[in-house]
């Protein structure tokens, strides 16, 4: 069965690119643009992996990670954080992997693959 990735990224083109890459690598992809979308998507269906932008218009990825990890229904979902900033103060226990922007296609595919296999 195809694994399902929830991609939350506010930039339209980067979101389109991620969807394109991940669908090409045979994943099911759901997308959203905000923290609100993230929670709505989690209410509708639990994905296998969350690919989360660190800076969303209505919340920052680090806080969102904490929320997801505090909720019994979602705490098992591995989260991959993407950011253009250096990851200086992230609690590494709540994050499965980091991806620096700009990324290469290969980085996205191998990181998602590695996280998918580990879980």
């Amino acid at each position: 069965m195809k694994k399902e990735i929830l991609v939350i990224e506010d930039d339209d083109d980067i979101r389109y690119l991620l969807e394109y890459i991940l669908k090409g690598a045979a994943y099911d992809v759901t997308t959203g643009t905000s923290a609100k979308d993230l929670y709505a998507a989690l209410d509708a269906k639990i994905p296998d992996i969350i690919l989360l932008d660190a800076m969303l218009p209505d919340g920052n990825g680090i806080d969102l990670c904490k929320h997801i990890k505090e909720n019994l229904a979602t705490r098992h979902i591995p989260i991959i954080i993407m950011s253009a900033r250096q990851f200086d103060n992230i609690d590494s226990r709540s994050v499965a992997a980091y991806i620096n922007k700009p990324f290469s296609i290969n980085e996205i595919v191998t990181t998602v693959e590695r996280v998918a296999q580990a879980n």
Partner: protein
């Protein structure tokens, strides 16, 4: 103006007193005398100027006339010191003038002795320092404003660089997708590869800008790890696949395990090698050497390019400085060596240059290693 004939030794007491009185009355500083109980006994024109009272209004009055209420205790302290025969110099305080306006002054107070060496009063020289204080306050305010502006500038650079990363991320991604879907033999493939290289250059420039703001805001942090720096250098050199006119000569290749921030040291090495290539436009050898002496690691990069005049050495590692003219055909931002120096210093090390104009340059950095 005709001068009276000069006369150095005054004979009579009257003459001496007349001279002293003239000095006091023409002084720019307020000169006041008072008894030990604080009653004013003399008051020169500068005192009138400073405090607004005419001599006739204050002689016989108590000095508290010009002391603000919340500073009356100062007078007790002054009298106590004077009674002990001590002087007070540059005592900065505030007095109040006839109009009730507060005047910042610097006071020098000395006891007045009679012939029997008994203290009979206090002489007081007051200088208006309101202008000094205003100038100092203005300077402090300007300094604060500059500090705030500078911080804002660094925050703006950081913010702008991050914003620019978003379009670069999608550009780089789409170029890669397009390239993957283009056959290598198609001429478009080569164009896409060149586009990608330019986007990567943009990204490096942005990272430099981010580093600058990180250094300025005190946010440059090192992540120490153990690694073989010789191996790291080999990997760095392997990355230069389009060398053309240059060749690398990497000496002593035995592994040297060190503890440092690998990514940051790699950044410094790449910067030095890029400079070596950039500033030897006619090509030639770039020599790289890594060695240790007495628990200190040394890395040097030498080129045989255009070299640097000694007059540039002191500025070479400062922000935005370039040793060549701004309109030179060799481009650059003047950031690389500044960041390199910051990274090396953060490791407790130093970086230096040896060069002569026209004879190439050698950059060497050293980092102390633990003696464990």
């Amino acid at each position: 103006m005709p001068h009276k004939q000069e006369k150095y030794f005054l004979e009579s007491i009257e003459e001496k007193q007349a001279l002293l009185a003239a000095i006091v009355s023409s002084s720019q500083d307020a000169i006041i005398s008072k008894t030990l109980s604080g009653v004013i006994t003399s008051w020169n024109p500068a005192a009138e100027q400073l405090f607004g009272y005419h001599e006739t209004e204050v002689i016989g009055k108590h000095i508290s006339l010009i002391i603000p209420k919340d500073r009356l205790h100062e007078e007790d302290y002054i009298i106590q010191q004077i009674s002990l025969g001590l002087r007070l110099e540059h005592f900065e305080t505030i007095r109040v003038n006839k109009n009730g306006k507060l005047v910042p002054i610097s006071l020098t107070l000395s006891p007045i002795f009679n012939e029997n060496h008994e203290i009979i009063g206090v002489s007081k020289i007051a200088r208006d320092i309101s202008e000094n204080i205003a100038a100092m306050q203005e300077k402090e305010q300007l300094y604060e404003e500059i500090k705030i502006l500078n911080k804002k500038k660094d925050e703006f650079i950081a913010q702008a660089a991050h914003e620019l990363k978003t379009p670069i991320t999608s550009l780089k991604g789409f170029l890669e997708v397009a390239q993957k879907n283009t056959p290598v033999e198609n001429s478009i493939f080569n164009l896409l590869e060149r586009c990608t290289r330019q986007v990567n250059k943009l990204n490096v420039l942005l990272n430099d800008l981010l580093d600058i703001s990180r250094v300025q805001l005190g946010k440059l942090q090192l992540r120490y790890e153990w690694f073989d720096i010789v191996n790291m250098m080999e990997e760095v050199l392997e990355g230069y696949t389009h060398l053309g006119k240059h060749t690398f000569n990497f000496k002593n290749r035995t592994p040297i395990i060190i503890q440092a921030d690998k990514i940051r040291l790699e950044q410094v090495c790449i910067n030095l090698i890029n400079n070596a290539i950039k500033y030897s436009p006619l090509g030639g050898e770039v020599e790289v050497e890594i060695w240790t002496v007495n628990y200190t690691l040394y890395v040097s990069v030498r080129d045989y390019g255009i070299g640097i005049g000694e007059e540039h050495f002191s500025e070479l590692f400062t922000q935005f400085y370039r040793a060549i003219e701004a309109d030179s055909y060799i481009s650059g931002t003047g950031i690389g060596l500044y960041i390199s120096k910051e990274i090396i210093q953060k490791h407790g090390g130093t970086i230096e240059v040896k060069s002569k104009k026209g004879e190439g340059a050698t950059f060497t950095f050293s980092i102390p290693q633990q003696t464990s």
